[in-house]
Amino acid sequence: MLVFNQLQTYLYLALILFAIGLYGVLARRNLIAILISVELILNAAMINFMAFNRFLAPHPAVGQIIALFIMAVAAAEAAIALSIIIAVYRKLKAINVEQATELRG
């Protein structure tokens, strides 16, 4: 299939993932769902790096290395986010952003 061998396909895919992630961050109320949306944004960037690497880059390894690093960093981020979400749950007995509205002004 020709469409799978084109840079544009993957760029559009990444852009759609990015948009879904952004929408999720803004629209979802559950902290876990927001975390998943953030991961979608990171994955969109990762797809971009891999696509550019496959079709354009003179050195074929750079994009892959970046993707590996993003995976590791995103895992660390998820660990920190989940631990803070647990702290939120212990104090507020909920993981819904509507419960966390004490700071305003």
Partner: protein
């Protein structure tokens, strides 16, 4: 010889290891831990000073040591040391977590030191995340009510989204230039910026650093984190982390320097909205830290004026202002820490009678506040003068006009603080006792606020030499 090039980073990595070992102890002795941490950080300032004039490349040119990076490393080490100095009475954080407080502040400093030296996209991303993650953990460490976790979760998610934006932007830059090295990217920028992909890439890439600097539209975290975090942690976020953000905004914005009108115009709008919004909302604040948060948004707008000039003078003035902001904002936060001995959030009205409780602290407060407001002959006035002049020389008359109007608006809420300290009576409040290191710190800060304001030449010349490497 290479050891000296990587000196400050190696040293702070070592300090982090020592502090990690301390954090393994079951019952740490808070005073002893503070003494150790402060001594180590003090030595770190000396190490950074020794390495100030190092120059060279490391790690396959991904890491550049030049005057620009070394100045910021010195500022970061100084910021860390100052924050440790005022952490002797760390009431806001549980005692068993004290070593972790020092540990994460050190790793954050380490991350930011690597950040200011990074000249490769992946290195920038990884070191930015090292410094951010440490701060994400530090904010919810505060003891007591629920606002700390709320602030922590807001900080984390806004930070994660903006770093996601940045990464997406970096991927476009990588795709369009086929390189991850800034050295290779900069020459290809002019043709790239004519196409939308390059412009979108650079603007998205800036997002991660605009978040750290709390520029509109990534400023939402600032007030909540300032109010919700422990006072010492907020002091660090408001001083050292701002300086590192300025360094990286300068490096990344240099990518767009050749774009001319459209790129500069975006920054002009961000700058205007940031300073106007920050100053107007700060007027109605009652909580001192929250007010300082909005003032930091306004100051981020001022600093952008120097960035968008894209000239040597503009960049140098932004560097000068970042260093000045570190000193003057720290002074105000130090007073806040000394007054709120139990680690609570301080209302502006609670400064009442400070003049009778501690004249020295009041002097520091008034100097810090006047410097933030830009009253001559303080360091803040000189910084603003340099920023406004550099923007004016590039023909941004309208921007400078709005900046000047904003400076006047900001006087109102800054003077409210001075009014509370001098003219409200605080009957029955005990005098504040200062230990001798705190006294020395007070004198030192007062002298540097006035001294570097009247004689700025040395720092300005240093900054000018430094930014030549970036532009």
């Amino acid at each position: 010889m290479d050891m000296l090039l990587f000196g400050p980073e190696l040293y702070f990595l070592l300090v982090a290891l020592v502090l990690f070992c301390l954090s393994l102890k079951r019952q740490p002795h808070p005073r002893a831990v503070n003494t150790i941490a402060a001594t180590l950080a003090g030595l770190g300032v000396l190490v950074a000073l020794v390495c100030l004039f190092q120059r060279g490349d490391l790690f396959f040119q991904a890491y550049r040591v030049d005057l620009f990076s070394q100045i910021f490393k010195f500022a970061l080490a100084l910021g860390l040391f100052l924050v440790f100095m005022i952490s002797r009475n760390l009431a806001g954080i549980e005692e068993r977590l004290h070593p972790e407080f020092y540990l994460f502040l050190t790793t954050c400093t380490l991350g930011m030191m690597m950040l200011v030296s990074s000249v490769e996209l992946l290195t920038i991303y990884v070191s930015l995340e090292l410094s951010s993650y440490s701060l994400y953990i530090l904010v919810p460490l505060r003891r007591g009510d629920d606002i700390d976790v709320e602030a922590g979760i807001k900080y984390l998610f806004i930070g994660a989204v903006s770093s996601g934006f940045m990464l997406f932007g970096l991927s476009y830059i990588f795709g369009a230039t086929h390189s991850t090295y800034l050295v290779d990217i900069i020459p290809r920028m002019p043709q790239l910026l004519a196409s939308p992909i390059g412009l979108v890439g650079v603007l998205l890439a800036l997002a991660g650093f605009l978040f750290k600097l709390s520029v509109f539209p990534f400023h939402f975290w600032a007030p909540d984190v300032y109010q919700g975090g422990a006072n010492q942690v907020v002091t660090f976020i408001a001083t050292a982390s701002k300086a590192a953000a300025v360094a990286l905004v300068l490096r990344i914005a240099a990518l767009g320097a050749s774009a001319g009108y459209s790129f500069a115009q975006t920054l002009v709008i961000l700058s205007i909205v940031s300073m106007t919004l920050g100053n107007l909302v700060a007027i109605i604040q009652k909580d001192l830290k929250r007010m300082l948060a909005y003032s930091s948004i306004a100051h981020a707008g001022y600093i952008l004026m120097g960035v968008l000039a894209f000239s040597e003078a503009g960049y140098a003035s932004a560097v000068y202002y970042a260093l000045a902001y570190l000193i003057m904002n720290f002074t105000v936060f130090m007073v806040l820490n000394e007054v709120a001995t139990d680690g609570r959030d301080l209302k502006i009205a609670e400064l009442a009678g400070l003049y009778h409780r501690s004249p020295l602290l009041t002097l520091s407060l008034i100097l810090g506040i006047f410097a933030l407001a830009g009253v001559p002959p303080s360091i803040g006035f000189t910084g603003k003068l340099l920023l406004f002049t550099s923007a004016m020389n590039q023909g941004y008359f309208f921007l400078v006009l709005i900046g000047a109007v904003n400076g006047t608006i900001s006087l109102y809420y800054y003077l409210k603080v001075v009014y509370a300290a001098y003219f409200l009576s605080g009957e029955g409040l005990p005098p504040i006792r200062l230990s001798w290191p705190t006294r020395l710190l007070n004198y030192g800060l007062c002298v540097s606020i006035i001294g570097f304001g009247v004689f700025p030449n040395f720092i300005v010349e240093l900054a000018r030499t430094a930014v030549r490497a970036v532009l």
